[in-house]
Structures are given as C-alpha cells and as structure tokens.
C-alpha cells in the first residue's frame, strides 16, 4: 500500500506517494534523480549512500522511506551549494583525498557530520568518525589530512 510521504530534500518540500518499505536510496536515485549517493553494499556497511537526516548521518540503503516522513534530508546535491562544501572540496583536492571517487560523496557527508559536532577533531576522532565509510583506494590517510586541512582553513565555518 502506498502512503503519502512528505519530507524536505535539500531545502525543497517533497511529497511522494509510495510504499514506505522502499529503501530511501532507491527513492532518491530512481524517483528523484538524486544520484550522488551511491550503492556500494546495500547493507549499511560501506557508507557510499550516506545522507544527512535532520543533520545526522544515516545510510540511505537501509533507511526505510517510512522513517523519512517529516524529516529534513541533505544529500551531496544540496550540500555542494554550501561554503562548507567548498572548503572540503578544496581540501580534498589539495590532499589528493579522492581517487576512484565512488566513496567520496558519502565521505563528504560523513565529514560534515563529524565537523558539525566536532570542529577540531583529532586524528583518532576522524578515524572513528569515518568508520562507517569504506574506501578501497586511498588507505584513508589523505582523507584524514584533507579533513584536518578543511577544519583549519575553514575555521569558523563549523
């Protein structure tokens, strides 16, 4: 049975009539043409599908549409319009933190969540903050450097 589900997506009100047992990732990618969040594992392990829900990072591949009703969702498509994103993008570029790039949008959303709660994280805090976002290319160290750079150069943004 379909239900009317309403939520805010990147600042826009959305109402969609769909069964609440759809994976939110599919709703984004198939129904709303939001393809920045990627499917890597389909079981909440790799983090490529990460989005923010009311400011909290969640894995959209195991998020039922029913849980999104009444929430505010931010994906990379919305986030990339912000100053914070620009600071992260510059830092990721400068440090070489993106290789194949499939994990990167999720990694950026995880970083936003981390920095918004902890604007000056230590290495260890970054490592644990990214624990739900797997990357097979970089070995993470350049990502960690990029986040520290963004925290420093984007001082005051978070």
């Amino acid at each position: 049975m379909s239900e009317k589900i309403s939520f805010e997506l990147n600042g826009q009100s959305i109402t969609i009539t769909l069964s609440p047992d759809h994976r939110f990732l599919d709703v984004l990618r198939k129904h709303l043409n939001i393809v920045g969040p990627k499917e890597g594992c389909g079981e909440g392990e790799c983090g490529a599908c990460s989005v923010l829900m009311d400011g909290y990072i969640v894995q959209s591949c195991i998020l039922p549409l029913g849980s999104v009703h009444g929430k505010k969702i931010m994906t990379i498509e919305g986030y990339r319009e912000t100053k914070r994103f620009k600071a992260l993008q510059d830092a990721f570029l400068t440090e070489g933190a993106s290789q194949c790039g499939i994990c990167t949008p999720g990694m950026i959303m995880a970083t936003e969540y981390l920095l918004s709660h902890n604007p000056h994280p230590t290495d260890e805090e970054i490592r644990h903050g990214l624990a739900g976002n797997l990357c097979r290319c970089t070995g993470y160290n350049m990502i960690i450097k990029a986040i520290k750079r963004a925290a420093k150069e984007g001082e005051g943004l978070w």
Partner: protein, 699 residues
C-alpha cells in the same frame, strides 16, 4: 622562456572536483529511456551436468537469454579460452551463469528467477590441488649441483588465502543496440578486451561492437577480465531483444561470483653453503585457478618471476602449477601473483636467517641485488639499483634496528617487520611486442586543443591527470587545452589494457613520443594527428618457452616497514605505523604516486592480517562487506612514504611503474612484525587472531 616546473610536483586531480561534488557518472547512474534489467540465473552446485531446467510460463515480454542464443562462440575470449559465456550442459562452480532473465520490472524478474528449478546430475567436485592444467618452470645455473654441495638445506611451505578486490562500485554494464551492432558502457579496465571478447561471442565484425568506459569506482584488477564475461552475456541479450539493458551486480552476487586473488601454496627450499650464503633456491608455486583458467597461467608466471625477489641467487629452479578446482574462477588482482610469492620469499629469507642464527637484516643485505646482477631468469638488472640508500633512509625513519632489539622482549607484545620487493612493469617478456602491440594517437584540432586518444582507463589511479600533465609539460602548453575523455573504442586506438602497472611507462612513453612528433608537425589552426606504436627496447631478449632472459625491461623497487602490537587476551593486531620508500624512477605526479602508495599499502597489509575469505564445499563464506573485512579508517595506520628519484632512461621523464609495487610488500611486512610480537614463525596469511591463538597455543 619561463622555467619549466619539476614534473613531479603534484597538481589537483582533474577528475576529483566532480567526483567530490557527486557529479561524476558511474555506470549505475546512467539511465537510458526504455531500458530493461537483466538478472543472472546461476548454478547452485559445484559440479555436475544440467539435466533439466524448468522455467515458469513467462509473462508477455519477458525473456530468457542463454547459451542457445549465442550467435558466435560460447567462450569468453581471454588468454586461455576455456570460460563459457553461459553454462550449456556442465556446471563447474557454484554461481556459474546459466541464463539471464530480462525485462523492466525487477520484482517480476526476481519472482521468475526464484521459480526456475534446475535439476543436475551431480559429479564429485575437486577442491584440492590435484588437477594441474597449466605448468611452468625455469632454471638458472645448476641447482642440482648446489644442493649436492650444500652444507645445509632449509625447507619451508607458505600458504596464502583469497583476497577480494572489494572495489566499492560493484561490476556493471549498460548496453544498447546501435547501427546493427551493440554498444556497451561499463565499469571496466580494458575496453579492448571487452570489445574483442564480445566480437568473438557475437561473431561480429569490429565495426559492430563499441565499448565505452564509464567512470570506474575502483577496480584493482577485478575489472580486468571479469567484465568481458558480463559484456558477452549482455551483448547476446541485446542482440536477441534489441532493447537497452542494464546489468549491475548486487554486492553479494559480486563477491560470490567474480574473480579473486588466487589462493597459493608455495614450497621453498634453499641450499646454504659454509659461509651461510644461499647458493640455490628451489621453489614450487601452486595456484588455485578455480573452475576456469582464464589468465591464471600469466598470474603463475608473475609469481614465479618474483621467486628471488630483490635478492641475487646464483642457482634457481622455479616450477609452478595452476590447479583446476570447482570454485569461482580466480583472476587478476593488483600484484598478479607477486604478492603470494613475495610473501613467501620474504618470510623464507627471514626464517633461513633465524635457523642459521644470523641477524636477518645482515643476512638479507648479503644477498641484495646490485646493478649488473642477473635476475632469476638470467636477465640483467641494467639500471642503477639504489636499494642500499633506500634501506639506509627507511632504517633511519623507522628506527628499525633499535626497535627490533626493544621488541625482542616477549612482554612487549610489539613487533616490527620489513619487506623488500621489486616489480617489473608491462607485460612479461615480449608480451608487449607480440600480444599487446600498443598504439596511441594524438589529435590537435583546429581550435588547437590536443586530444589524447588512448584506451587507458582512469579507475582512480590518475592517468586522466598524469597523461594530460605529461603531454602539456612536453608541449609547454596549458593543461586545460589537453583533452582526455573516457576511452570509447570508436575513437581511440588499442593502447592495451589498463593493467600490469604499464600505463605510464608503456602508454605514457608512447604518448611522449607522439607528443614530440606533434610538436614537430604543429601547424596552428589545422588538424594534426600523430601516432606511435610499441617497439621493444633492443636489449630485451626473452625466450618464452624456457622463461629465460629479460622478463621486464626495468624494475621499480620498494621497502615497507610495519610496526604492530598484538593483544595478549584477544590476539587482535593493531598496526601502529608504516614507513615506506620507493624507487619508481620519476614520479609524474607525486601526489598521485603517494596516493597509490597509501592505498596499495592498506590493501597489502589487509591481505596480510585482516582479509579472510574462504569457501566451504565451493561456496564463498564471506559474501558481503560485513563478513569480508577490509580496513576502515580506524584500522589503517599512519604511513610515512618517501619517493626516490632514479630516472629510467626509456621512461617518460624517467618514470617506471607504480600501481602494483605499493601492494606487494605489505603482507610480509605485517606478517614479520606479528611474528616478532608473538615470537612464533608465521607461514600462512592472513595472520588472523584465530591463527595467532593457534600459533601461541601450539608451543
């Protein structure tokens, strides 16, 4: 004229800004109006004959696609053509593809797949190393004599497990009919491998098959030959149904049925003389090829060629077999046979030294390769070998010698390990000349933009950036005016597959020559096209039958040092630090090379202590990212990486190969560190907590 900047200084990766912003288009992001989906029906048994397939009545418009629909050969064209596109009568591993179900409604497709029943006459499967189907051997000096004269003979056996590439983007293609032919867009490393395989399966001419690379979300060898299988299946489906079709693997499907690093069993035997020198090494490499051999023979050869690693040994006998088993076929993975052998030889040299009561570092140094020495296959190390200065530097950075002493104390629970390694780049021996025959093209258009036309794929390792930088630097021209789009076989010549760490050295080398030509022929506002093809350096002599001579024109070198701590209650390993040093000739872009280093090392140590995959009666047990453990940010240690300058005269700006080099030494470095921390010899990787417990308990 302004002074040219040092080529090695890092620049921003040209693709990364879009990737970071979520704008890059991967295969699964591509939507074609009216496209259908395909799902694979697979064998559920490891070996048998298909007796009957019961298919429920299909709803209108739903299709099956199987071996009977193949217009050409039911074979995936690879190095050894033994791998069927669809199983027609026999199945040889669990998960072997039998047919596709195709239509637009995924829920109905799933229902159909679930309702199909297949009955088999089951046969006894083979899982052990008994059915040898490829053999190789080579000989240097007189091993027999050396063993006869030896003061002491030392033998060890080493074993390595599966490793899954675990690219974060699963395998996938989307294809559509175009001008009586088929066009395929996919997550691939080798556009021309795919094209040639599809031509063979469709029985189609060159002009009817077009292959385009989408943005690739990681590959690591996993998208070298396996995509050819998917592409052939999809091409047959498109040929039959004449609609666009998308086929993206789910993660579990990907982990269960795609190729992995070959599990290996390696026996080593050394003849030691009165001065405690290794006079001879005999080795045997056994690889589990899985159900179909594909390119396993070349993996075996790569492994055997590394059998003396960065040591000069006078007398060598190397033998190897690929065994056929009723398991998922194994294939390409960064390192390609070398990680198995380099694990074995590094442990072996260490274990010999321990058995002889000699300091392992001193012992290894006494055997280190020098310029002019002969390789395992009696080729020559022609170029300067700077391992000594690399060793000095990394010993200093890591404080290795002091730590070795300190961690000898059994209560420390700490250990430090070091690996040495080399890696030859390009196809082995005369493979580049005889098999690949790479061609590259540069086209300057009327707006004076320079187009790089090669089949090399950027799967994250950076050729989009480095190739543009290379051409721009040689032309002293703005990089923005140099264009390098994703390869499309309609427009680019076959510069060979994106494998074997060959892209910068071989393809980049050809591009450098083509650029020189372009410069000479440059006429403003007119189209100018230049081409170059591969020519083997005249000094390279290789006898493929005897495996004798120069297996590679030159080698890259490296040293990894790894420090660990082992928990005495849980036997868990924490990798605390890594120090790494490389001679890659000349880095075309330091930032990119250092990124390769970090990533390769993480995969290398993951292979050594973390990543467990096994099968039970042919069924892969760790079939998702929860159960197959790759390192997270919390597992990966800080890494210090140093690049040495040692330009190779025939490489572009002196560049040699990079990609695989950074992986091959990780496993022995971490295994040797664990060995010290627990005070027990390690012979098998991954060195899991479960194995550490056994080693400690079996006093």
């Amino acid at each position: 004229m302004k002074e040219k900047q040092n080529i090695s200084v890092g620049i921003d990766n040209v693709e990364a800004a879009d990737k970071i912003a979520g704008l890059a288009k991967y295969t699964s992001d591509i939507v074609i109006e009216g496209m259908l989906y395909a799902k694979t029906v697979r064998s559920t048994i490891p070996r048998g004959t298909i007796r009957e397939i019961k298919i429920p009545t299909l709803p209108k418009g739903y299709y099956t696609v199987d071996a009977t629909d193949i217009p050409g050969d039911n074979i995936v064209g690879m190095l050894r053509d033994d791998w069927p596109v669809f199983a027609a009568h026999h199945v040889n591993h669990i998960g072997e593809p039998i047919m596709l179900i195709v239509r637009e409604d995924k829920a109905i497709i799933t229902e159909i797949v679930n309702k199909i029943t297949i009955t088999y006459d089951e046969a006894e499967p083979t899982f052990d190393f008994t059915d040898s189907c490829e053999q190789l051997s080579f000989q240097k000096g007189n091993t027999k004599k050396a063993f006869k004269e030896a003061k002491k003979i030392i033998d060890y056996t080493y074993e390595t497990g599966y490793q899954e590439q675990t690219y974060i983007e699963p395998q996938g293609f989307i294809g559509y009919p175009e001008n009586d032919g088929v066009t395929l867009i996919g997550s691939i490393q080798c556009p021309y491998y795919v094209k040639h395989a599809v031509m063979q399966t469709l029985g189609a001419s060159e002009d009817l098959v077009r292959v385009i690379q989408a943005t690739v979300g990681g590959a690591f060898g996993g998208k070298e030959e396996f995509p050819s299988l998917m592409a052939c299946q999809l091409a047959v489906a498109i040929h039959k149904i004449a609609r666009p079709i998308k086929m993206i693997y789910e993660r579990e499907e990907d982990m269960e049925v795609t190729t992995k690093r070959h599990p290996a069993k390696i026996t080593m035997s050394a003849a030691i003389d009165a001065d405690n020198r290794v006079m001879a090494i005999k080795s045997h490499v056994g690889l589990d090829g899985g159900a179909y051999i594909g390119l396993s023979k070349v993996v075996l050869s790569r492994g055997m060629l590394a059998s003396t690693n960065a040591y000069t040994i006078e007398n060598v006998t190397a033998r190897g077999d690929v065994y056929r088993t009723n398991t998922v076929p194994n294939g390409a993975f960064r390192g390609f046979g070398a990680p198995q052998m380099i694990f074995a030889i590094e442990m072996f040299m260490h274990h010999i030294a321990k058995d002889l009561n000699i300091d392992p570092l001193t012992f290894r140094k006494a055997h280190m390769v020098k310029q002019g020495d002969l390789t395992a296959t009696s080729g020559v190390f022609r170029d300067p070998v700077i391992m000594n200065s690399m060793l000095e530097e990394v010993l200093k950075q890591s404080n290795y010698i002091e730590k070795v002493k300190q961690y000898q104390h059994p209560e420390s629970n700490k250990g430090i390990g070091m690996s040495w390694f080399l890696h030859g780049f390009g196809f082995t021996g005369s493979g580049e000349k005889d098999k690949i025959k790479a061609r590259v093209r540069l086209k300057k258009d009327e707006q004076d933009n320079v187009h790089i036309l090669i089949a090399a794929v950027d799967m994250g390792q950076g050729p989009k950036t480095t190739m543009r930088k290379l051409v721009a630097n040689l032309l002293d021209y703005p990089i923005e005016k140099v264009i390098f789009n994703n390869p499309d076989t309609r427009y680019v010549p076959d510069s060979g597959p994106t494998v074997a760490s060959r892209t910068m050295m071989i393809v980049g080398g050809l591009l450098a020559r083509a650029t020189k030509k372009l410069q000479d022929q440059w006429v403003a506002h007119q189209e100018v096209v230049t081409e170059e093809s591969y020519e083997q350096p005249s000094y390279v002599q290789w006898d493929n039958e005897a495996m004798h001579g120069d297996a590679y024109p030159a080698y890259s070198w490296g040293i990894n040092v790894c420090e660990v701590e082992v928990d005495r209650q849980t036997y868990e390993v924490r990798v605390r630090n890594m120090w790494n040093i490389y001679d890659v000739g000349k880095a075309i872009d330091e930032r990119i090379v250092l990124g390769q280093a970090d990533g390769g090392q993480a995969q290398g140590i993951g292979y050594g202590y973390l990543e467990v995959m096994n099968h039970r009666e042919g069924k892969i047990m760790q079939k998702n990212m929860t159960d197959y453990i790759i390192p997270t940010a919390a597992d990966t240690p800080p890494m210090e990486n140093t690049l040495m300058d040692n330009p190779y005269p025939l490489g572009p700006y002196g560049a040699k190969g990079v990609g695989e080099l950074t992986l091959v030494g990780g496993a022995p470095a971490v295994a040797l560190a664990i060995e010290q921390a627990i005070g027990k010899k390690v012979h098998t990787i991954p060195v899991t907590p479960e194995r550490i417990m056994e080693l400690i308990d079996n006093e």
